[in-house]
Amino acid sequence: MNDQNQRPPVLPQGSQTGGVPPSSDSGQVDGRWHAPHKFSSWLAAQMQDQGAGLSVRVDFRPDGILAFSYQWKKAKVPVFLVVGRRGSKGEVTRFGTLFAPLPCAPEVEKRLLHHTATRLDQIFRGTPPTWLSRRSSPSLVVGWGPSFLQDYCSDLLVPGVTHWGSTLLQDAQFDEDRSLLLSFRGDASFDLRLYPSCEKTNKPWVGQYGPLVLVAPDSSIAAHPFVSYVSFVFSLLIPSGATLLPYDSSQQDWIPLMGDTRGEDTFLVGHFRTSEELYKAIFAAKAKIAVVGNLDRECSSALRWLAGATEDAIMDFWHIHTSREAYMSFRTTDISDTDVVTIDGEARTTELIRQVIDSPLDLLVVQGGCPSALMGETGGRSLDAALEGAQRTPHSFTVDVCLGENTDYRRFWDMLVQMDPAEEPLTVADRLNLVGFGHRQTPALSELLRLLGEAGLSDIHTFLPTFEAASIPGTRSARATVVYPSPHVVDAFSMARRHFGQAVVFPDAPWGIQGTRQWLDQVLRSMGRDGLPDHLWQAMVAARTPSQWAEWRGATAGLRVGFAASAHYFMQPDSHLRHGLPIAQVIQELGFGIDLVVVPPTDTQPRRIPKTTLERWGGSSPGAVRVVYGKHGETLHELLQRCEPVAFYSEWVGDQRLLMAGKEPFSVADLHMGLEGTVRNLRFLLQLSTLPFAQRYGRLAPSEVLHG
């Protein structure tokens, strides 16, 4: 099978596929397929040729999805084939296969998936042996076509149908001739021959190497692991949900400006995997919630941590603590080795659901884990069984694995807002929704509510990252919705955007004194009112600034705050913004200067920061912003030591690199919105900048401890 002489001709060949597109459309150049978007037009033609009552349009999207848009019985149903996608850092953010992205009747979905699979089979029929498959033993040669997709796709790849136990890969052998022998735990085994289509490139390559363009180049693929080629074929519709990469050891020479959470007020910096965000939202909610999990101990342990059911969570998410006891209920099947044999998790989950279902719940969450998914068990079936004949049916939400992408979060918010029984919103003139301004224990949130109250607005509902069940019914009747303008809040809000009515505004967040004034003005105008009168604003400021304000403000003269990063980072357009916080502006408003400390790459001099970048950081006034360039070969420690500022920005809690250099780290989580928040910010930065501890003792942190 590895005989180079038997290598097939380029795929697809016209004589084999029953209709070759013109070369200009096909994307076939010099015997290779290079451009997926050209390929798609050819594929579309193929699909149209063989239409059977269906009209279909095929698009190859930039994100690596091959989209089939079916028009069938006056209904438009898209079916997607996810080829694969790689992020800018090479991480695979999503793999997938055939699926219908919108809900439709199961029969329709199944039929369309089958139809798509059949069409693809037909297209590729007779194009051996680019994908040379062999099942079991003795060898059975099948092509990339009917046997492959029909035999495997429906069983392997359709959500809810797949049984992992029989499809787990037992062995994979890969040789330099690009042949891959896959053996499964069931009866199946087959070979794949893989032919990447283009030369080595530094660009993300999965999109270019997708299955439909795996044709006949000569370039070596030795540099690419075989998993990258074939995983799209075998993966379920359960993609990697990671939105925050793990700490990248290659970045240890610079201070991460956006990274892990600090375990404090995490509402702005809490970039967890989306499933964790989901659970934070669920469990921090002021609502009666029961969670039933078909989970093993390790899963349950992690979930309870998110759920706030334990001291683990309380140590991290203090805001959860206050609402936990009265509202939470957590039950788990506690899967062990024995259960893996008996596989009765669904029945046990059903029983657990029945135990809680008659209590007055706002929400029932049924959670599956990896082990239960591997056993082919789903929370949906358990829930359906439990709901049969139930006296009442609470709002329920199933999450079958913890590795889900945004879909879980989106479904959750959709379902949440659907708790509102009102069909049409009836606008209440004075009602305002605030989205993404913190949770109940975020000090600034209650302070902002008081400011709004003094400005005449008191009927305010707050959402994200948590919610109160009692607020949901009022969501759509608000006159305006004001959203915190940071990407992760906007992203989360977009999931439930349609439930919040039309009047949605994204004003700059209320950071600093002037920022707070402008925000209040914009909120009032979104409510159809005039801006804030000057006398009222002055009264607000006078009531909130302490007598030492001028003294503190004067003490900042000559003090500077540091930011250390690569030149590349500073040159990003929004580098002066952190999670919606215009940090440069806020610091300068308090009277501090800013030092941008440019960490050089290990082997070269740092790039110079352009003037436009400095202006974004507020560098137009003399001395407001200074740039300190690292020297060639200078370590981060050496560079920091010769920098003047004591307070340095870092998202790492207790960043040892800063402490050892005599600096004191701070982050967004230390700063607050609003007027009172601004006063606290001033005091905090002033205290930090004059704190002697790290300056005197930071060097004593034993470096050997850091690496054992």
Partner: protein, 436 residues
């Protein structure tokens, strides 16, 4: 609150705990990343001085971040990539490689990968069969220690006379409670002419364990019984298996056992006499005025319970409720037997959930309860009338030890008495009339 899950820490918690106790041991868990809580538990929250995860530095504990395709295709590539990446950035002395439940279910075992990597990196890469589906943290800790010692180049070398290696010390964190325990064991064994050269684990690097090759005696604690037995057989050295030395009588018994096995009876008796003469005056008054008749509820590591319950009984403190933090009935039976031998009248339970504990403690409150000893995980089970709570064992998030505070040995007995006295005294002052 109805959190129907046991508070017993998990298998991977135990493995992580061991890694926390050996600063240059890297831990790779072949699993999705949903075990983020492991490092937070064993490291960040429970140990102020953890080196598992240094802010701003590459972590020596990492998951392979499996996704479902990896479960189907095999995770070997990610395992190799993760270990190589840690090796390049952290330069650990050895690797421990284990897996989470999903990988355990697929049956994938990393023995071959570990062996390959050991050769490639020229350092031990130790495969550990996952037990996360049915094991608990004691299994994780014990199995990981056994696997580690098995794979380290510890071969019999000429014995250095009068040296002892301790295997299975429950080094839960690098704070001054366990460092104090280590100092106390060292002090006591020195007092009978033995030099402790190696303790596994003890907050020291992997190469420290190589010193086990030359010790004359191996002393095994329950947390590492399996590892100690295997090592003693491998080295052909005498093994002294003992309980943890907790309390006055418990410590004296422990010293006598060690002394008998090493031929130092006279030294031991002399030392015990001196130590008791120093400790007893400090305790004589408080035993009568503060401890006698106190009723304590305990939820604790079974190996600690076996020594701690009789130690408190010696002061007149009655254990009225005992929950053992383990999934295994065999450990419960072992504790029952020990307590019967010590004539302590309490029927232990095990692997309780929070509501179960809350109910048990509520019942105890009705009949009189003065104090609770447990880990952080069970604090939350106290409802309503809260009693003084002494955190002991893993995890310990609220109580930290910045200054010498052992709870093993004679000095440990004094620390325990000091701590209990002050907890009760504070509580009595703040809640007049609530406890006698």
């Amino acid at each position: 609150m109805a959190d129907l899950m046991s508070t017993t820490a998990t298998f991977l918690d135990g493995v992580t705990l061991l890694a926390n106790g050996i600063p240059d041991l890297a831990l790779v868990i072949d699993s999705p990343d949903c075990g983020d809580d492991k490092v937070a538990k064993a490291g960040i929250r429970s140990d102020l001085f953890t080196t598992l995860n240094q802010p701003g530095f590459p972590s020596r504990q990492q998951f392979t971040w499996l996704t479902f395709p990896d479960l189907a295709l095999g995770s070997q590539a990610k395992v190799l990539e993760t270990i190589r990446s840690i090796d390049a950035s952290v330069h650990p002395g050895a690797f421990l490689l284990t897996a989470g439940s999903p990988v355990q279910l697929t049956g994938e075992y990393h023995g071959l990968s570990a062996s390959r990597l050991s050769e490639e990196l020229r350092k031990p890469v130790v495969p550990l069969l996952s037990g996360s589906l049915s094991g608990d943290y004691l299994d994780g800790f014990g199995n990981a220690l056994a696997a580690l010692l098995e794979h380290l180049p510890i071969e019999p070398l000429p014995v250095v006379p009068a040296t002892v290696g301790i295997v299975g010390f429950p080094f839960e964190r690098g704070e001054e409670d366990h460092l104090g325990n280590l100092r106390e064991l060292d002090r006591l064994l020195s007092g009978i002419g033995l030099q402790v050269t190696v303790v596994a684990p003890s907050g020291r690097n992997v190469d420290h364990l190589a010193g086990l090759s030359t010790v004359e005696f191996l002393l095994g604690f329950p947390h590492g019984a399996q590892a100690a037995t295997a090592l003693a057989q491998r080295l052909g050295r005498p093994l002294i298996q003992t309980e943890l030395p907790i309390g006055l009588e418990g410590t004296a018994r422990w010293l006598r056992e060690v002394a008998q096995a090493t031929g130092r009876d006279q030294e031991a008796e002399a030392l015990i006499g001196c130590e008791l003469a120093r400790c007893v005056p400090a305790l004589r008054r408080v035993v009568r005025t503060m401890f006698l008749g106190r009723r304590v509820a305990m939820t604790i590591d079974p190996y600690i319970a076996r020594s701690l319950v009789p130690a408190l009984a010696e002061w007149g403190v009655q254990t009225v409720s005992l929950n053992l933090r383990t999934r295994h009935l065999t450990r419960l039976h072992e504790v029952s037997d020990r307590l019967k031998q010590a004539q302590v009248d309490v029927v232990p339970t095990h692997d309780m959930t929070l509501p179960g504990l809350a109910l048990q403690w509520k019942h105890c409150l009705g009949e009189g309860l003065d104090l609770i000893i447990g880990t952080t995980m069970e604090r939350i089970a106290q409802e309503g009338d809260r009693r003084p709570y002494l955190e002991l064992g893993f995890p310990c998030y609220v109580r930290h030890a910045l200054f010498d505070s052992p709870w093993m040995g004679f000095r440990g007995a004094l620390w325990l008495a000091d701590r209990l006295y002050n907890l009760l005294s504070d509580y009595r002052y703040d809640h007049p009339g609530s406890i006698p």
